[in-house]
Symmetry: C2
Subunit: 178 residues, 2 copies
């Protein structure tokens, strides 16, 4: 198992489609089905992205999610933190103060400053977070676009558009799901 869950992977893939969707909202269900992943799983990710202010919900029959900010201003770190929470690399339990020789009364020097082990872990975490902060959804989207044929992006926009148009027609009683 990896440190980051598949929620992060699914979430970023979904957000990349929102970058290319020309300001049209897309539902979490449509984004999940477009990518062949679990709709219920993806449905749980979007409220976290919304809570973090990365997406906003557009209400109504043809509603869905939109990016709340320009894609260049949404970093990978923003997305990871939104989905995983600000999960630290290392949880220091201050073991240094528990030494049997202290007899339950650790001297001041034993817990002065940051534990040297924790300090290394904080450096490693910072290096990881800086890399994630340096990459935006916009820059990764551009890399993807360079690889995909022009026609493909149009086809995807068409597919998502058809899904939206197909909702809420006469006689259809299905409640639209954001």
């Amino acid at each position: 198992m990896a440190h980051l869950t598949s929620s992060v992977e699914y979430g970023i893939h979904c957000l990349l489609w929102l970058v290319r969707n020309d300001g049209q909202p897309a539902s979490s269900r449509d984004l999940a089905e477009l990518q062949g992943v679990s709709t219920s799983f993806v449905a749980k990710i979007f409220p976290k992205l919304e809570k973090a202010g990365i997406v906003r919900a557009s209400e109504g029959v043809r509603g869905g999610y939109l990016l709340a900010w320009p894609a260049d201003e949404i970093s990978f770190l923003d997305i990871v933190d939104a989905i995983e929470g600000k999960k630290p690399l290392f949880d220091c339990q201050e073991i240094r103060s528990r030494c049997a020789l202290f007899d339950g009364q650790p001297p001041a020097w034993a817990s002065a400053g940051t534990c040297a082990i924790h300090a290394v872990m904080l450096q490693a975490e910072q290096a990881m977070r800086e890399t994630l902060a340096s990459q935006s959804l916009g820059s990764v989207s551009q890399r993807f676009v360079r690889k995909a044929p022009e026609s493909f992006l149009g086809e995807v926009a068409g597919w998502l558009g058809e899904r939206i148009s197909g909702r809420g027609g006469k006689g259809r009683k299905r409640t639209p799901k954001v």
Copy 2:
């Protein structure tokens, strides 16, 4: 919960005591009790460190664990990988190939090269691993030693020495535990 488990924290704290123990072996039980942490928990960490070649077991009544290498040559990355396994930051499931428009037959361009999302995660992982690789058990031990009074280190060595001396006396039938 943090990305790295408390096994890493306990393991590194134990190894730091082996750096300062003047080549005397110490048992996992003694190291756990010295630090006021679970003996059964620590007992499960040392076989991983031994398997990775970071410590070696010295057999016999007064046996225990010793560092297998000079502390300056044991990096934090070695220890983390030994205890956690080479756990990746991100597990790419190649979602890019699953697009509904491919109808189960993704074109070559869709999976060419590394997925752009995975590439960012690999960079972040590399930044974290480089920081962990740049810090050795020896350097962190020196930082600790600068903080602790000289007498304390002698007291700990004495405490561990007494525990070893106390083992396997006449009439004692307890099997020594490494």
